[in-house]
Each structure stands twice: as C-alpha cells, then as structure tokens.
Symmetry: C2
Subunit: 347 residues, 2 copies
DNA sequence: GTTTCCTGCGAAAACGTTTTCCCGTTGACA
DNA sequence: TGTCAACGGGAAAACGTTTTCGCAGGAAAC
C-alpha cells in the first residue's frame, strides 16, 4: 500500500502521461471529457491531493501567510488572529503562526525562517524588546526579498509598509473625558513602560484630554508598570497619591483589575469613590467584580483588515499603491466600574 | 537586483557548479577548505538562505509541525501552544497553527490541507462538534498517509496514536473532596454539555467523590451549560436548588465567575455560605472577586509533553513502540472562593 | 612503468508539480 | 490527392535543493 499518491501513480495506473493527469485534474479542455472524467474519478477514489511543496515550488507562491505575534496567551492578540483566520480560511490561505515571546532574537529568527521561501506575505506585531532596542533591520531584509508585509497594533512608523492600528490615542482621550464628565477630577493613569508604542499613544490621549479640560498636567500621575515584575506592589503606589485619585485610566486590563482589588481592600467604593476605565476589552474586564468599563479595540476587525490589506498586496504585486496606515476607531464598553451617569453624559 | 538568491546564483558568480556550492555550505570535506571558505563567505555576504520548499521536497521532511486547536481565544489552549512552541523552537521545528473553531467541517478541511505534504507531524485537540458527531474518519485518513499524530486534552480513545490529557477525573475528584473537607455538604456542579470528553471525566470525578463520601448522588445536581447561548440564565438555575448548594464545582472558569456574580447579587457570602472551585486556572480565576480556587491543568507541560512524544515519533519512524496515553496530574490553586481551612485539611 | 588510491570537483537524477510546445490522427474541403 | 485545422494527448523543462556517482589528475605503492 503506497503511502502517498502522486500524479505519476495515477498516470501509470491509467496508462496516460503525467501531464495529461495534471491537465485533466485542472479540467483543461484540451483533454477529452471522457478521459477527464475517468482521471478525476480515479483520483477521487485514491483521495489524491497535490503536494503543496511541489506546487508551491513550481508556482512560486504558497498560499500561506505568516503571522508573528509577541504573545499568544493574550486575549487581544488571539482575537486578532481569529479575525485573520476568518479571512484567510475564506480566501483559501493557510496560516503559519510564530511567537516572538516579546524577544528581539526570536523575532529575528522567526522572520528569517519565514522569509526562506514558504510564505506569500507577512503579518507582524512588534515585540516589546524590539521596540525598546529600536532595531528594525530584520524587517528591511524581509522586504528586500519582496515579501509583502503588514504591521498591526504595535507598528513602527519608519517602516515602509501598510499598517493597521487601533486608535489608542482616541480611545485614551475618550476614556479620560468620559470619567471627567461623570465627575472625576483627579484622574491617574497606569501605563506600560515608556518604549511601548501603544502605551505612548494612550498616554498622549490621556494627557491631551486633561489639557483640554484644563486639569493641571502632572507627569507623576502616570505610573509605569514593569510587566516582568510582580506588579501588585507597583500598582499599589497609585494609592499613595494625595489627594487620592477618583479616576484611574489603565492601559491594560490586568492593571485595572489589580487596582480594583487593592481599592476594595482599602475600603474605597467603586464607582462611588473611584471610577476605572481600562484599555482592552477581554475576559478580565468582563468577569472582574465590579466589571470594568473598557475601551474596545476591535481586535477581530483589526485582524480582518490587516490580512485584507496583505492579500491585496499579494495578489496585486505590481500595483504602485502608496502604503497606508489604517486606524481602527475605539469604543467604550460601559460596565460597573464607572458611574451610571457616565453613559448618558458621554454620548 | 535579484530578489531571491539561489545556489545557482552563487555557483555562476564563483565559477563553480551548483553541487559544489551545496556541498560547501554543508561543510562537506570533499570540497577543499579554500573553496568552502570562499563559498561560505560569499553566501553570507549575499544573505543566502536555502528555499524551504525545495529542500523539503527533496528531503521529504519539512521540520514543520501542524497544530489544530478548537479555539484560540482560550487561555488553556494558548498556554498549551506556548509549551509546544518552547520545544519546537528549541529543536528547530516550525509551527503551523490551524483553528477548527469547534467545527467539524473546518477540522476536516484543516486536516486535509495539512496532510497534503507540508508537515512532518500533527498535534490535535478535537472540536466539540466532532465529539458530538463521533466521526473520526478524517484522522484515520491522515494516519494512512503515515503522518505521526498526537492528540491532546480532547482526545478520542478509539484512535490509534499517542495521547496526552490532563487528569480531569482526578482533578474533579480532588476538588469535590476538598470542598467536602472544608465543610460543604451540598455540592453542585456546572458542566459542559454531555458529549465533551473532558466534561464527562470531570463529572465522573465529581460523582465518584460524592459516592465515596456517601453523599447521595442526584443527577439533577449537575447542570449542563450550552456555551453557545448566553449562559447567565442557565447558571442562575443552580440557585433554584433546595437546599441551596454550599459548594459549586465548575468545569470552566466562566461558569464559576458568573455563579459568583449571581451569588453576590443574591446576598450569598463567599466563601462563608458558598465555596467554589473551578477547572482551568486562567486569568478569570485570578482576577475575579473573590478570586477563584482552581484546578491547575498544567497546559504548558501538556504542550511540551505532547510535542515531545510527536517529535520522538517523527525522528524514530521505524520504532514499534506501542502508543501510549499520558495523563498529567492536576493540582489545586487555593484562592479566596474557598474557606481558608480547606488548604490545611486537604493537604 | 603499471596499478591503486586519494583529492577535488562536476554531471545528473530525483522530489511532484505545472505549463509550453510539439506531434500524430482525423475529417473536411478544395 | 493534397492541404489545413481541430482535436487529443505526450515530452520535456522548470522550480531549488540534495546526493550519488563518476571522472580527471596526481601521488603513492608495487
């Protein structure tokens, strides 16, 4: 019993040539209807499927799209992947997913491996370490090999390719303003470390809102959390502020959830004494008690859009369309960590 | 400027043959040291990387491992993937990840695509719909093509391959007994629908514990939740029990988190009036208030073990080692949804 | 001086497709 | 009878590797 059926097997068995079989299976009319039917029936019987590698080698495209993400146990990124998967599975592409684990070296490795022939296009969200280092030559190398590339969420402005991001600035601005409208006057922020691009945007949105609201901008009200350390004690410091904040804007779900735990322990009532809004609308926001009002980033849509842009580049390689950066609007999901009035006033 | 460097390019440039270049790059001693050095230096300069497809076609292995999971926005599965990724990246394999989205059709599609040549081995956790249908012929087909396969977490006993599961039975047994030890006498369960294998195991563990503890086993105390519907109202029914349960064992984090929300609304104190233990130790258990005592499944280890078994099969294809099923022990992570005493007494 | 043995390299086949070009047969038509 | 087109199919090249085999020339052994 042969383990793998090839065109040759079918050809030998049926007494025709390999090229005839190939053409018959592609329904080429140069082969008579009879012969075609016979070959197709036989191929089906044997459950023949063409060898992807050979086909790709010949056709010089593989219908595979490579994705590099920094972290797989992250609800936002997996949501993006779901969006990507929705489109690719519809359009007959396959996905090969690599993890950089926020490491520069792994990201370089991944890009080299992926660039060695097997994929038609590349979707990347940049690792923290890479952003900290500021070294992007591996992306430039990939582009030199004419590999279409789209950056999503964590992008780098200086790279020449399409980009898709959430409106981090706008989301932060909106969240901050919403808390103000519902009565908060001392709004502090829990942010990533300063080199993360999305963190920078969120911070700027927050500060812009404060500025417009004529709230004195004090930088000490932004607390940067190092995610590699246990961040409970880091978050705790926000409650050393005097006066105590009556609003907290968190750049990430976990930060908000931890802040809530600490606040409740201190007897601070939520949302009466303290309102919270967090970026990222994941399961933590939903199941935390009280549940957390969150900025929805539409990760699913981001994934869909990013891969659509990519497939467009792949299938129209000659097009001289200039690269574009698409920004996906954010939205507030109102929950119990903010006052009820917020919803009415804010909209 | 050429877009892609091949052996031929190097050969032409250096005035040697393609085979010489290939051998030189493999450090074959049949090529003189001088020539080797020259070729290697030149290849490095041009940043040559061999074409993965061509190499794979020739060598009839690709160093790629395929993974099919039912759901990517699921903390447990992504943890497993992290474990898989850890091993594969160390051993020089790449990962191609496909999503079945719990759908039988998608699972079949994925397997067909993957089986068409490009991967060396297959790692699968079975979709809910497939388990409901009970049709596994697509797995048998893949095996006929001599594709090594390892099933993890959601496995099917009748399939002839290695399997890795968590000790779902033992975890449930342990959780139920622990609640009993801390004083609970009316323990109810929130489970998946009956066709999910892991749910079956967890239910059996729960029932076994009750039986040993001489608690009358009433099947009505197991509530099956249909995850496709909004499950808030489904979970609510557990509080119609009379007497009210003083312990709830949940097969999934979300079930427990929702139960907590409902209980708190009803003025039921946790853990004084009601203890909860949930399967799956993810971010919901951690950030819920009160935090939830959970059964740790060691997803990371499961991923590592599964892929290690697979790679062993790949690299020792001839070995006649019988297929094995490895069960990974579970453990309790004590948090605030159970009484403090539980920890002391249970261990 | 003939045989044997290295050394260093090249030719060519093979992996499984796809596609271009070509060839033989048939029948129509002048 | 000779010309031509249409039809049905095959041969072969190409994609980029890897690997087996062979070959030439020189050195060593007899």
């Amino acid at each position: 019993m042969k383990t793998k059926i090839t065109l040759k097997d079918i050809a030998n068995e049926l007494g025709v040539s390999v090229s005839t079989v190939s053409k018959a299976l592609h329904n080429n009319t140069r082969i008579s209807k009879e012969t075609r039917d016979k070959i197709q029936a036989f191929a089906k019987l044997l459950k023949y499927t063409p060898d992807a590698r050979a086909r790709s080698l010949r056709a010089s495209h593989s219908n595979i799209i490579g994705v590099v993400i920094p972290e797989i146990t992250n609800h936002f990124f997996t949501t993006v992947i779901k969006g990507i998967d929705y489109v690719t599975s519809q359009k007959g592409y396959q996905l090969i997913i690599c993890l950089s684990n926020e490491s520069y070296d792994r990201e370089v490795e991944n890009l080299n491996l992926l660039a060695s022939g097997s994929i038609d296009g590349l979707l990347v969200s940049i690792a923290t370490e890479t952003q900290k280092k500021g070294v992007y030559s591996h992306f430039v190398e990939a582009q030199k090999r004419e590999l279409p590339m789209v950056l999503f969420d964590r992008v780098e402005e200086t790279l020449n390719c399409d980009k898709v991001t959430a409106d981090d600035f706008g989301g932060a601005y909106m969240a901050t303003k919403a808390m103000y409208t519902s009565g908060c006057r001392n709004i502090a922020m829990l942010n990533f470390e300063s080199h993360v691009t999305v963190g920078k945007e969120r911070k700027e949105g927050y500060e812009k809102a404060l500025q417009e609201l004529k709230i004195e901008k004090e930088f000490s009200r932004v607390f940067e959390i190092n995610e590699k350390k246990n961040f409970y004690s880091q978050v705790e410091k926000i409650f050393d502020l005097n006066p105590l904040p009556d609003g907290i804007f968190a750049a990430k779900e976990d930060f908000a959830a931890v802040a809530i735990k600490i606040a409740l322990q201190k007897g601070i009532r939520i949302p009466e004494d303290l309102s919270l809004i967090s970026f990222v609308n994941g399961s933590i926001s939903e199941y935390s008690t009280p549940s957390i009002t969150a900025v929805i980033q539409h990760g699913y849509d981001m994934g869909k859009l990013a891969v659509e842009l990519l497939i467009d580049r792949i299938e129209n390689k000659e097009s001289e369309k200039p690269f574009e950066t698409r920004v996906i609007a954010t939205k507030l999901k109102y929950r119990d960590s903010t006052k009820n009035s917020i919803k009415l006033k804010a909209t």
